[in-house]
């Protein structure tokens, strides 16, 4: 294949944040008609590079050339006009507007200054149709689950390029972790569309932490580590082990260690017991027991009620039926305070909206839960606070290791670690982790899983929710299987339990 001219070339890109050098002299190029993976651990600079490219951050050094012309991209709008469309990891749409409005926001077709609502609805419906999605475009975006919202974001982004020959179409499509909340069918749907766009000559920059997906869809990849370029390779020339070694810069023993790890076998007495706990529209009434030191994994498709179950156990939503006892005492569960008081902690799957306070520092975010439980009148003494924060920054390897950094400036994986630290510091009895490894790279994923194992060894119970069945299977003593908002089975983990067995249970909806 003769190498055509790259559609996009970034040379010597430098980006600094106060106290952090996120990118130092990174080169990156993108050819038309290819799907290009950007690989690297959390904090390697993937998101920063993308944000520089899409005009969210202004660059502090280096040049960007698009179609052979040097460009200055000062804002996301300029990036769009230049033909660079983006779908971010976390959905950046307006949940209160309708799907159609979200797709057309900022580029509404108008006639004589009036917005053509009919046309918007019609075209939006066509675009959604083309993706093979069954979405009512007049319904508010918030009425759909996160996965569908993500798809809408993609429709919005590619729709811009498709708008029949007017202006510059999409030359570069950036997909930052678009698949992290999609199930297998939705991913396939997305891939089909990506391939079609690629064949039309669009250059696609794809970021995903699912290595299998990279190998399935991508042609070429660029690997970053600690803000520097490690290399650019054809996907066919580099196997997965080689890639991971490039990403983390060391051999894979860390991951293998985990595979060999034996689950602690002697779980203690019952810690948390839910009886007939349920909420209309959330999850059907269920009974559940979690023992001391047990890891209870929840398996099920997206939207099967995994998150809803966890939220009920934490009192984030109010149950309409049933009761919860923790260590023998009934807990009212009318608000998260009650659960927290009983020793339950909850890391939401939505880091940005339900977890972090982005304006506050790493330190403040870490101590928030502990401080809240002490009440405002009893501040944590400064020396004790700094010691605790330093300890957890070190233990979880939060980067940058600067307690004064604004948490909003950290990468996704490090933000997740801050949330973990926030709850670990309160020494909960039951830790609920909802998709703690979503949008996180292999290295951090392994670290978090190892942490779960060691917490369980120390006697902490964990409710673990993950989309990847292997992950649930590897960590859990017991696996709760959900289907259609019902807890259909609880399987005791053992040699006979495999992912296909779990899949079977999900598919049949009954315990065999």
């Amino acid at each position: 294949m003769a190498e055509p001219r790259p559609v996009l070339e970034m040379t010597g890109i430098v980006k600094e944040f106060p106290g952090v050098r996120a990118l130092s002299g990174v080169d990156f190029r993108l050819f038309p008609g290819e799907i290009h993976a950007l690989m690297g651990e959390n904090g390697a600079g993937k998101s920063t590079l993308i944000k520089v490219l899409t005009g969210v951050h202004t660059l502090d050094g280096g040049t960007i050339t698009l179609d052979g012309k040097a460009v200055r991209i000062g804002s996301p709008l300029q990036a769009q006009h230049a033909g660079i469309s983006t779908v971010y990891q976390e959905v950046n749409l307006c949940p209160n507007l309708s799907v159609a409005e979200n797709i057309f926001i900022g580029r509404e077709p108008t006639r004589a200054g009036r917005i053509q609502w009919k046309q918007i609805r019609k075209e939006a419906a066509e675009m959604v149709d083309r993706l093979g999605l069954d979405i009512d475009v007049t319904a508010p975006l918030s009425s759909y689950p996160l996965a569908v919202q993500q798809l809408v974001a993609i429709v919005r982004s590619v729709g811009h390029g498709d708008s029949d020959g007017e202006g510059s179409g999409t030359k570069v499509l950036v997909l930052d972790e678009p698949t992290s909340s999609l199930d297998r069918d939705e991913v396939l749907e997305l891939f089909r569309l990506m391939r079609r766009l690629r064949d039309e000559g669009v250059a696609i920059l794809f970021v995903s932490h699912f290595l299998d997906q990279i190998y399935e869809i991508c042609d070429r990849m660029t690997v970053l580590r600690n803000g520097t370029l490690v290399g650019e390779h054809m996907v066919a020339d580099l196997d997965q082990v080689g890639l991971i070694e490039l990403m983390i810069g060391k051999a894979l023993d860390q991951l293998e260690e985990l595979h060999e790890h034996q689950l602690r076998s002697d779980v203690g007495e019952t810690l948390v017991k839910a009886e007939g706990l349920g909420r209309t529209g959330g999850i059907a009434p269920f009974d559940l027991e979690i023992k001391k030191g047990e890891v209870l994994g929840l398996a099920g498709l997206l939207g099967s009620g995994r998150t809803e179950l966890a939220r009920l156990l934490f009192g984030a939503d109010q149950p309409d039926s049933g009761k919860v006892t923790v260590a023998g005492k009934q807990v009212s569960m009318s608000a998260p305070n009650d659960a927290i008081g009983a020793g339950v902690a909850f890391c939401s799957e939505n880091r940005k909206t339900e977890g972090l306070v982005p304006d506050l520092t790493v330190r403040e975010n870490i101590i928030l839960a502990l401080q809240a439980s002490r009440g405002w009148t009893r501040p944590i003494p400064a020396s004790q606070r700094d010691e605790l924060v330093a300890k957890y920054i070190k233990a979880l390897d939060i980067r940058p290791a600067n307690p004064e950094a604004r948490v909003g400036q950290l990468s996704g994986g490090n933000q997740q670690k801050v949330l973990l630290a926030r709850w670990l510091i309160t020494q909960p009895k039951l830790l609920i982790l909802d998709e703690p490894t979503r949008g996180i790279d292999v290295g951090a994923k392994a670290e978090i899983q190892k942490l779960v194992v060691s917490l369980s060894e120390d006697g902490m119970s964990v409710l673990y929710i993950a989309a990847e069945l292997e992950e649930v299977l590897r960590l859990s003593h017991t696996i709760g299987v959900l289907r259609d908002r019902k807890l259909v089975a609880q399987l005791t983990n053992g040699p006979e339990i495999t992912t296909s067995k779990i899949l079977e249970t999900i598919a049949s909806g009954e315990h065999q």
């Binding site: 600094e16 944040f17 106060p18 106290g19 944000k51 969210v56 951050h57 202004t58 502090d60 804002s75 934490f314 984030a316 608000a335 998260p336 305070n337 927290i340 008081g341 909850f346 939401s348 909206t353 339900e354 977890g355 972090l356 306070v357 982005p358 304006d359 506050l360 520092t361 403040e364 101590i367 928030l368 839960a369 401080q371 809240a372 439980s373 002490r374 009440g375 405002w376 009148t377 009893r378 501040p379 944590i380 004064e404 604004r406 909003g408 400036q409 926030r422």
Partner: protein, 365 residues
């Protein structure tokens, strides 16, 4: 890592990036504007054992505004707003003065204290009502506090029977018009309230929890912060501050005017908070910034008189200055006007205030 060669510019940059830099710069600039018109503007002289001078007057006349703005800061930090403070000023003044005026001996200390207590309790009840509507009923703060803003003036007039109540009480006069240790007594009241507020928010965890609630309400709920309780407290505190301002204003004039006492003070207070660098979106707040913001506004009012802006146009003049001040504080605007060099280190994706003002290592360019 800091090499000596970069010390001076990085110190300068650390200074310009301090969150109080622009408010203080504006305040100094406004004060300097007065000098050509009043050469002895900065002079402070002693007469009858009292200190006099423009600077003293600015602090004295700005006292009620500082009080109201300090309370407003906390409300705004939770993501709310309190439009009712002006009405609370009027209610407190009306209740206190009408109680004092009913006394046989208006100079009796016990009576004056009781009157002040009644006024302040009424103020706190107003705050409780606001907090209840916002935190318990889930009404938008701007609407919830609009109720007392409108109805409160009516209540104040009911209390005074639509009259301006004048009193003649020496002890009461002290709060807003008296002197102590050569300085106006109001200054001590303000200093005490500011000190208590700073201690309350920064010595306890209240400040952190308020910033958390304002920064991300849902995350705060899930982390177990009793955000309703905090919001109610904050509205009560804001009303208490407004109540003290109400005592000060009515004491200064020895009269309660239900119609005009504290009129539009809510708008000046919100402006002071914003000039002080606290975002209306909630989250990070700065009491020090608010105090300076209030002083900027009072200085502006004084300046309007000293440089002789005609009365008809002084609101327009004030508006123009406020626009300039707000523009100067916007990093985006500064980047456009003063070139890119000052703004490069601030990520453009982030709104307004650089959250963390501590000096940081900088790579010199």
């Amino acid at each position: 890592m800091s090499t000596p060669a970069v010390t001076t510019p990085s110190r300068w940059r650390a200074l310009t990036r301090h969150h109080l830099f622009w408010p203080v710069a504006v305040l100094i600039a406004l004060l300097l504007v007065n000098v050509p018109f009043t050469p002895d503007f900065f002079a402070i002289r002693m007469a009858d054992g009292h200190l006099y001078g423009s600077l003293v007057s600015i602090v004295l006349f700005g006292s009620p505004l500082i009080l109201v703005a300090v309370g407003m800061t906390l409300v705004i930090a939770t993501g709310g707003i309190d439009l009712s403070v002006g009405a609370v000023v009027a209610i407190t003044g009306a209740l206190t003065c009408s109680y004092i005026s009913d006394q046989a001996d208006q100079n009796a200390l016990a009576g004056v204290f009781l009157a002040m207590g009644i006024g302040l309790v009424a103020a706190v009840v107003c705050g409780l009502w606001n907090g209840f509507l916002v935190a318990r009923m889930g009404i938008q703060p701007i609407i919830a506090t609009l109720i007392i803003m409108v109805a409160g003036r009516g209540v104040a007039q009911l209390i005074t029977d639509g009259q301006i109540i004048t009193i003649n009480s020496e002890p009461y006069k002290l709060i807003g018009g008296g002197y102590w240790l050569t300085l106006p007594f109001s200054i001590f009241v303000v200093a005490a309230v500011v000190a208590v507020t700073v201690a309350l928010t920064r010595r306890t965890a209240l400040g952190l929890l308020v910033e958390s609630v304002g920064g991300n309400a849902e995350a705060s709920r899930l982390v177990g912060i009793r955000s309703r309780r905090i919001k109610i407290m904050v509205y009560m505190f804001c009303a208490l501050c407004a109540g003290i301002a109400g005592l000060m204003i009515s004491s200064n004039t020895s009269a309660a005017d239900g119609n005009n006492a504290g009129l539009w003070i809510e708008l000046d207070a919100i402006l002071a908070v914003v000039i002080g660098g606290t975002s209306l979106l909630g989250g990070r707040f700065s009491i020090g910034g608010t105090v300076i913001g209030a002083l900027v506004i009072q200085t502006l009012t004084t300046t309007i008189y000293t440089i002789g802006v005609p009365t008809q146009t002084n609101l327009v003049f004030k508006a123009a200055v406020v626009i300039v001040v707000c523009l100067l504080q916007s990093p985006k605007f500064r980047a456009k006007v003063f070139g890119a060099k000052g703004a490069r280190t601030t990520a453009p994706a982030e709104p307004a205030t650089p959250a963390d003002a501590a000096p940081k290592m900088e790579v010199s360019r």
